[in-house]
Structures are given as structure tokens and as C-alpha cells.
């Protein structure tokens, strides 16, 4: 199965994780990595597994590189039925009231456009001790088993 990995980032942590995921999977799967800033919603394909890594900013807002993509989802409401995606969030529990909101809002928008979520969205906590890849790789392996 082809796995398309997208990232929405502001300081590059989500990009690094997206690359780590691709490196982990590239022996067994065909993979691609792209910035959401350079991605149109129609690029998400039903035949691929779409993995999205997205952080949060300023009071639960989207990171800069996810914003153009989000705008297109809002403005064009593309029909994404048949598209399957899994979202991994990057956040910081110090921002208690809006922890993981960027990834949550993005997942909600995709669902509103008809896409289907795979697995449970989880969020890496920058204030915690775990490394993002130590959470994301087992999470994705679980999703791949059922996909």
C-alpha cells in the first residue's frame, strides 16, 4: 500500500517526524512526504493511506504550514469520500485548554468533507519525556495492521 505522509508545522518538529515515519516504512511500503502548505485537498487519494502529522499554535490554532490547506478545505469543501487518513498531533500540555487542538480541528474538517479516520488520533506532548517517534511508530504500526 502506498503511504502518503503530510505535515503541518511551524517550527519543523512535525516535518522531522513525518520524515522519521517515512524512513521507518520505506522498506515495506512506497512512501511520500509533503508539506500541507504545498498540498491541495484533492491530492489525498482513496487508494493511499494518508498519514497527517500536525502541531498546534496560538491558542489552539493551526501551525503556519497547515493554514493554506485548511483554508482550501473551508472554502472549497471538496468531496473526500473514500479517503482514509490517520492524524498524529504534536502539542504541549502546558497549553492545557487547547492541547492538541490543531490536529483535532484538522481531523474534524477532513471528516466534514467526507473522509474517514483510521485509528485513534494521539498527541505527542512537548512538555513530556517521550520522543514523538516512540509514540508515532507503534501507533502507525497498529493502524497498518487493520488498514
Amino acid at each position: 500500500m502506498k503511504i502518503a505522509i503530510y505535515y503541518g508545522t511551524e517550527t519543523g518538529n512535525a516535518e522531522m517526524l513525518a520524515e522519521d515515519i517515512a524512513t521507518e516504512l520505506e522498506d515495506a511500503h512506497e512512501t511520500s512526504v509533503a508539506d500541507l502548505a504545498e498540498t491541495a485537498p484533492e491530492a489525498l487519494k482513496a487508494a493511499e493511506l494518508n498519514v497527517i502529522v500536525c502541531s498546534s499554535y496560538d491558542d489552539g490554532d493551526f501551525p503556519a504550514s497547515a493554514k493554506p490547506f485548511v483554508e482550501k478545505l473551508n472554502d472549497e469543501s471538496p468531496d473526500l469520500s473514500g479517503v482514509r487518513f490517520a492524524v498524529f498531533g504534536l502539542g504541549d500540555s502546558e497549553y492545557e485548554a487547547t492541547y492538541g487542538f490543531g490536529s483535532m480541528k484538522l481531523a474534524d474538517l477532513l471528516v466534514a468533507c467526507g473522509a474517514t479516520t483510521l485509528g485513534e488520533r494521539i498527541v505527542h506532548d512537548a512538555a513530556g519525556d517521550d520522543l514523538p517517534e516512540d509514540l508515532a511508530l507503534p501507533w502507525l504500526a497498529g493502524i497498518l495492521e487493520t488498514a
Partner: protein, 397 residues
């Protein structure tokens, strides 16, 4: 043919530029040179001790040296330990990303009185920068001049209880110092109207959530939804933090008990007694490099093979996301303009030099600092240069 690029300054601007260069052209020889024995600039010594999440970008920067094959040359101050001309002779391009470390002067009578300290100097002391001055005595009623994010960082640290500092990397000395200050009220002075203050709303919200803070605002923004007004409504601790907007500092004088600040307000001139004054009105060049001259050379075109990045280039305002964006743009430009000359020795320039810190030495320091962290801290920094240099010097022996 692989080009050789020296990046002077291992803060966010230098590191993001290096990252973008190596991403586009993995075979480049990219060297990051820093005056300090440790990398990452203000990520280690400016970003607040209690904002560890923001420091997470250091993991990306570490990859530069562990995977992307950049090399770190620490404890080398360009302009003193090695000249810019030497660097330019050795590399195909030189990027100046040395930041702006000096506190911008208040520019008023009394600015040099004892009891006046810049926020840069204060945060360097709090975060145990090896060149920091001693922590000053702030007294019961410090006044902070400036309403940017750095001012809010200082306010937050001064207002936090010891428990609210758990999980940070604030050192034992600075933590004891904070607990011993006995601050009773803090006044914050800003020239602009409240609605035009530079701090970010999220930072103000966080301040309002502290258990001890009681935020008060003179000349508040008219909108009830203004972040500071919300924080004032939400906070009710024992430590008043009063923001006074549209208030211009005119002069400082010494009194028997401390300092007196004369200010101009919409109601006329006023005097504020202060046990100390912390200026947080921005940063400027420390004068060790000729910034204006070097920027002019860098702007003059590709023939100078000189580039400038980050705060050194654009002034002291952008945050880390902007360093990344600009670093990517600069990397693209350098790759368009560079013309490699194999005769240039690159990092060969430093061969056999004693006292140079490489990335492996930093990883030893990093591991030791993490391992030495007490229960309620995530790291225990080495504060003295000699301790930071130990791995490099023991190798030289």
C-alpha cells in the same frame, strides 16, 4: 563538487539555515561555528526555563550534526579567535547568524545607575549563561520597562511559586535567588496603548493563570476581550502586577531607598518608586562585530560571499518560526549563488586547534546535564565555561 559553507552562530537562524542547505544539497560541507562551548544560542539561553516544549527544536538541530553531517566548532569567537577574513578565505560562503545579544539602552538620564539591569543580562544570569553577570538584588518593588514577550517571560518567572517551576531547567542558584527576592508588587511600563502592546495574547493568558498573580491595568484596551483585560479579570493572587500603558519613561534617579522613575502619562508627569528597574525594550549589537559594515557587504551581492541571517540581519523581533522560514529562503539563495573553489580548505582551517568543542563533546555535556537533573527539574546546566569545556580539554591532553 561540494561547496563549503561556514555558518557563524549556532542559534535557530544558523541551525535552520544549515538544515535547509543540507536538505537541498546533502553533500555540502556545512560547519557551524559558535563562540560558546555549547550550541543552540537563545534556545538554551533565552527561551524561558519553564517553556521546555519550545526548546524541542533542539532535537532537529542535533540531527544536523548526527545525521546531516554538519560539523560543530564551539568555543571559537569569530572576530577574536578566528578572523572573518580567514573564514572567507577558507570557505566558499560565510553566513553571519550571530544574533543581537546586548540589551537596548533606555536612552535616558540615570540608565546606568546601580539597580538597573537589562532583561537580556537578567535572563542570561537566570539561565546560567557562562558569560552572565551575577544576579542582582531586585527588592520588593521592581519596575519592568517594556511590554514585549521577553518582559512577560521575566514577569512570569518572578511571579511563579517554586512548585510552578517544576519540570523546568532553572538551576538551583537562580531558583533560590527567585525564592529569596520577596517581591511585593511589580509595575510594568509601556509607551504604547494597551491594544498596541507587542506581547502575544497566549503569553498574557499564561501569566494570568499563575497562582500568585493579580493583574491590574491602567489605561486598558477598550475591548473586554483583550487578552490582558481577560487576564486581569481572571487573576486574583497576592502579587499585584500592574501594567501602565501610554506611559513614557523620562529619567531615573537614585533615592535613599532605591530608584525613582519619572514618567510621562496622559494625566501628566508622574513618579514611580522602584527597588530596581528591568529594561526589556529590545536588543542591539554588542559592538564586537561591525554590524552595519558587514550587513552592507552582505547586501552588496554574491561577490562578497557573505550572508547575514536572523536577528543579526533583521533586528531583534522575529521568533523561532521566522528563523526557520528565513533560513529556508536564505539557503535557496546561497545555493543559487555559490561557486565552489576546491582550493579553499574549509574546515581544514581548524585542524589541530586546541580548545575547540565538537558535537560529540556537547553530547557528553548534554547527557551529563540530563543525568544530573534533580527530581523537580528536567536538566541541571553546567554554569561555568570551564565545566562546559571539560570534555574538549580532556581530549586535547
Amino acid at each position: 563538487m561540494s561547496a563549503k559553507i561556514a555558518i557563524v552562530g549556532g542559534g535557530p537562524s544558523g541551525c535552520y539555515t544549515a538544515q535547509a542547505l543540507l536538505k537541498r544539497a546533502p553533500d555540502l560541507e556545512v560547519d557551524v561555528i559558535d563562540a560558546l562551548p555549547v550550541p543552540y544560542g537563545l534556545v538554551r539561553y533565552g527561551v524561558a526555563a519553564d517553556h521546555q516544549g519550545t526548546k524541542g527544536v533542539a532535537r532537529q538541530f542535533a540531527r544536523l550534526f548526527t545525521r546531516q553531517k554538519a560539523q560543530f566548532f564551539g568555543n571559537l569567537r569569530v572576530g577574536e579567535d578566528v578572523s572573518l577574513d580567514e573564514l572567507r578565505a577558507a570557505y566558499d560562503a560565510v553566513v553571519l547568524a550571530t544574533g543581537l545579544s546586548a540589551d537596548r539602552p533606555l536612552g535616558m538620564p540615570g540608565e546606568d545607575l546601580p539597580g538597573v539591569i537589562g532583561a537580556g543580562a537578567l535572563t542570561r544570569a537566570l539561565y546560567e549563561h557562562p558569560d552572565a553577570t551575577d544576579l542582582p538584588h531586585l527588592g520588593a518593588t521592581p519596575v519592568v520597562i517594556g511590554t514585549g514577550n521577553v518582559a512577560i517571560d521575566v514577569l512570569r518567572l518572578l511571579a511563579k511559586t517554586p512548585a510552578e517551576l517544576h519540570g523546568s531547567d532553572l538551576g538551583a542558584g537562580p531558583s533560590d535567588w527567585l525564592a529569596a527576592q520577596g517581591i511585593e508588587r511589580i509595575t510594568v511600563i509601556g509607551r504604547s496603548p494597551a491594544a498596541a502592546a507587542r506581547f502575544s495574547p497566549v503569553m498574557v493568558k499564561e501569566l494570568g493563570e499563575l497562582s500568585r498573580a493579580e493583574i491590574q491595568v491602567r489605561h486598558p484596551a477598550p475591548e473586554a476581550e483583550d487578552a490582558l483585560n481577560l487576564a486581569a479579570a481572571a487573576s486574583s493572587g497576592p502579587l499585584p502586577i500592574e501594567f501602565r500603558f501610554e506611559t513614557r519613561p523620562l529619567a531615573l534617579e537614585a533615592t535613599e531607598s532605591g530608584l525613582r522613575l519619572t514618567v510621562e502619562t496622559p494625566e501628566g508627569e508622574d513618579r514611580i518608586d522602584a527597588s530596581s528597574v528591568i529594561s526589556a525594550i529590545g536588543f542591539t549589537c554588542d559592538g564586537r562585530l561591525d554590524r552595519a559594515g558587514l550587513l552592507a557587504e552582505a547586501e552588496a551581492g554574491a561577490a562578497s560571499r557573505l550572508y547575514a541571517a536572523g536577528w543579526f540581519r533583521g533586528g531583534p523581533t522575529g521568533a523561532i518560526p521566522q528563523c526557520r522560514e528565513e533560513g529556508q529562503a536564505l539557503a535557496a539563495r546561497i545555493l543559487e549563488e555559490i561557486s565552489p573553489d576546491p582550493a579553499r580548505p574549509g574546515r581544514g582551517l581548524f585542524a589541530g586547534r586546541a580548545g575547540v568543542v565538537d558535537f560529540d563533546h556537547w553530547q557528553q555535556i548534554d547527557a551529563q546535564e540530563l543525568a544530573a537533573a534533580p527530581e523537580d527539574r528536567c536538566r541541571r546546566k553546567f554554569a561555568r565555561r570551564e565545566d562546559l569545556l571539560r570534555p574538549a580539554l580532556s581530549q586535547d591532553e
